[in-house]
Symmetry: C2
Subunit: 507 residues, 2 copies
């Protein structure tokens, strides 16, 4: 039986941008296909104007890589593509090569659930360049979206200040698997449960839910609807009270609560889904307390996000459980993480050290690539995160005191000093085979625990939502100096070419 | 072999919110499961502040309905769920009932690609209430997302004023199927092609693409990289020119263009992906024209959407092909359509006419449900859309001149007068079986043609992006008067109850 999660375990070779396939064809035709290269996946800005992100999506990415294949059907499709000259775009020999292609590379990655910061490699791919290129798009899709939603969930759970958050967004998700993957990532980010039954089954996430307005409309009035529900499922009674009038609805719920108590059960909660949630929750709390239903919880929902939740708390709202849908599963104010995938090194036996380090220029320093094979060393002091250093992975990892240089202002050097250091990336795939570490790196329960632990170890100054204090992240001396040198050389080459063109025009 | 589109053809019974299953359980326990009900899927606000939407997602929804089933595995999972009392949430008899459940209802729906407006039913479900309720979530997911992205695509294609738009968003999509479904919907909305190879294969959409920055970085400089690419695929040469310096890159591309011409090919395009696209495209055009490459196109990309594209056009940008990614496939400024699914009628042999019409109140008129079984009559004059009337589907459909009442201001009546009228909804599933009309309603090529035709028939005043003129949509006399009456009765009942409670407290 096929399920949605199986999708990532099926050959998705064509789940890529066409330019990856045309480049792959180019590498193959020029005899470069098998040359090793190292790519890094990173983002340049923290989502939602925040100060951090939570890595997610790796488990799905590893499933995808392990299953990567171009089926006969896929190759038959590629054979139909033509260029502007009407001739086939791809050589039959290349398509045969694709038929045998498997992912044989090495993946070093940040385990799901760990805090990550702008510029850091979340995934490092070392593989024959043809493979590293073909997998770019899917890796970006999976890691961008997972990381976006895990981060949004953490922010929303922060705004709930320890009260449970339920994710209710499937109906507004971007496609079926948009919904499932969002629930998976939100679970890593800290939600307490979901309405999404399939996510509950596939990922072991607690599922929650009671009834909709339609239940009340079907029965015609709340007394009949609430009573019918309570009789059918007396152990799971949360009543939605706003079909006609919220506070009248609370009174009807209390009536049914008394009926439930008579049979040894209780009214677990009432749910408010419209109107002035601050006022209505305060009044509902008063009615419930006055009637002796102090333990009955108040669940609130209606286009909530971390900002509205904070505002409701400021107004003294008496909300015990937060239902968050659309704005959690889509990211709302930022529906995509802008992760990119850049080549940092190309194997070259003619070069000292065996690696050539390409560079890409830009008018914006933040968009200039970082040449090298990159790791990340995370420095802590007394268990508290004090800074991350992106370091040359071919050198010995630095200790707890490191000089670093800012990526957005390369003139600014600083020292990260703590009492402990650990590498952030772990090897999760080696020669195309998942390592022992992969199971934990992609395990949902472990990921959720890592997110909670990392968030607890993050300074509240960086964790806050408004104008967070930037967390120190820099390049180590090797990467910084190499980058400066290569940027200088590339700019000089461009300037010389432009001067030569001008001279040509002048002559 | 499993593919992503097959997913919709597999049993996705659990792809729903838990409250649908608890309500289903409640209907089953109270002996109401098989009672027929009619639900309508509609949205309340046009997305992106615009004046229209384009229906999409129906084809996927019909696949889902035809395959609906709760597998043994699904039922085993449901059997593990417990209430707060620790007892199983669901009766074994109910789970057995679910095992036999198939969708046996009737679906009337707006064919994909047609223009739709706020308040209109996009999908009408008539089925035993237990079925109608269980399918709510998935129908909303599929139709909300498809409609959102088809609409965004139409707006972006509008801003391109006839020049082709390529969709490049897979890497920033919300999950794998978020990407595929977005491409599918964008094709309906008018894009000319996509980078998404799997979407090309599965949906027959033209695929486009050439090379990334990494290709240039691999070869170390543009002359070598461009030449290698041109030699490998001379019939498909679009060169990305901004790895180091955009205008220097254009000159390198021209050099390779001369080389291509010498072998009977040509430089199809250059692509700009960063910097001041207005200025750079004008300068690139000048360089290309001066060198005799007047037919070489300029492709531009970099976080484009309809607003930025209009601004670039206003600045005189010389862009021939627009590459749009993130902001198209996620909806960006509005990443979810707020479609809802409301019960309009419940079969009741004791009621005159056989249908009872439930209502939901709200402080906002726009959120009050519309009791009845609803169709839509679209009125045109000389082929131009002049207004839609939501009408009682049990009565004879009105002709080309209809009195209607505003849904947001029920005091406002108006007349829609044209020379032709057609029903917007067609029966696509009857007794759980797809009708002959379903094939066309969900066919992508036909949907794309319908979108183009409907957009051409829409007044530019409504089609414009900024402050569009509202398109006339109203309720017919039957629905309007029934709604007023039922709202009045429900409000009176609530008021009487509140008064009785007050009297109780006072006594």
């Amino acid at each position: 039986m096929t399920t949605l999660t199986d999708v990532y375990r099926t050959p998705l070779g064509l789940l890529t941008d066409l330019y990856q396939v045309t480049m792959a064809h180019g590498y193959w035709k020029t005899g470069q296909a098998e040359r090793e290269a190292v790519f890094h996946l990173h983002f340049r800005r923290h989502p939602f104007g925040g100060g951090y992100a939570i890595a997610a999506g790796l488990g799905q990415a590893l499933d995808y890589l392990a299953a990567l294949r171009f089926t006969e059907d896929d190759r038959a499709y590629l054979a139909t593509l033509t260029g502007a000259d009407g001739r086939p775009l791809f050589d039959p020999g290349f398509l045969a090569y694709l038929g045998d292609l498997r992912f044989t590379g090495t993946i070093d990655a940040v385990p799901e659930g760990r805090l990550v910061f702008a510029h850091e490699p979340l995934v490092r791919v070392r593989a024959p360049i043809i493979q590293a290129q073909l997998v770019e798009t899917a890796l970006l899709t999976l890691v961008n979206f997972g990381t976006l939603i895990a981060t949004k969930a953490a922010r929303i759970c922060d705004a709930a200040r320890g009260e449970p958050v339920l994710e209710l967004g499937l109906r507004r998700a971007q496609g079926v698997d948009g919904g499932l993957s969002a629930t998976r990532a939100a679970w890593i980010g800290g939600i307490a449960g979901t309405s999404n039954v399939l996510a509950g089954k596939l990922y072991g996430i607690p599922v929650r839910g009671t009834h909709a307005h339609s239940w009340v409309m079907f029965w015609g009035d709340e007394p009949r609807a609430f009573r019918a529900y309570a009789d059918a499922m007396p152990g799971n009674v949360t009543l939605l009270v706003d079909t006609f009038d919220t506070l009248d609805g609370v009174r009807h719920a209390i009536d049914v609560g008394r009926h439930l108590r008579a049979s040894g059960h209780d009214l677990l909660a009432v749910r408010l889904d419209s109107g002035d949630l601050a006022h209505l929750s305060i009044e509902a709390r008063r009615l419930l307390d006055d009637a002796g239903f102090e333990r009955t919880r108040i669940v609130a929902s209606n286009d909530l996000d971390e900002h509205l939740m904070s505002s409701l708390r400021d107004q003294g709202a008496r909300i015990d459980t937060w239902g968050v849908g659309t704005k959690l599963v889509t990211g709302n104010d930022q529906p995509a993480l802008g992760g990119v995938y850049k080549v940092g090194a190309v194997a070259d036996p003619d070069v000292d050290g065996g690696w050539r380090y390409p560079i890409k220029l830009s008018e914006q320093p933040i968009k200039i690539s970082t040449p090298g094979i990159q790791g990340v060393q995370r420095i802590t002091r007394g268990g508290v995160l004090v800074g991350d250093v992106i370091c040359d992975a071919l050198a010995t990892a630095p200790g707890a005191r490191v000089e670093a240089w800012d990526l957005e202002d390369p003139t600014r050097g600083f020292v990260v000093a703590g009492d402990a250091a650990e590498p952030l990336l772990v090897t999760v795939m080696d020669g195309g085979v998942a390592t022992a570490a992969a199971a934990s790196a992609g395990d949902l329960g472990a990921a959720r625990a890592r997110a909670a632990a990392d968030l607890a170890a993050l300074s509240p100054r960086t964790r806050r939502h408004l104008n967070p204090q930037p967390y120190p992240v820099g390049l180590d001396a090797t990467l910084h100096q190499r980058k400066l040198r290569l940027v200088g050389e590339a700019r000089a080459r461009v300037a010389a070419e432009l001067a030569a063109r001008d001279a040509e025009v002048g002559s």
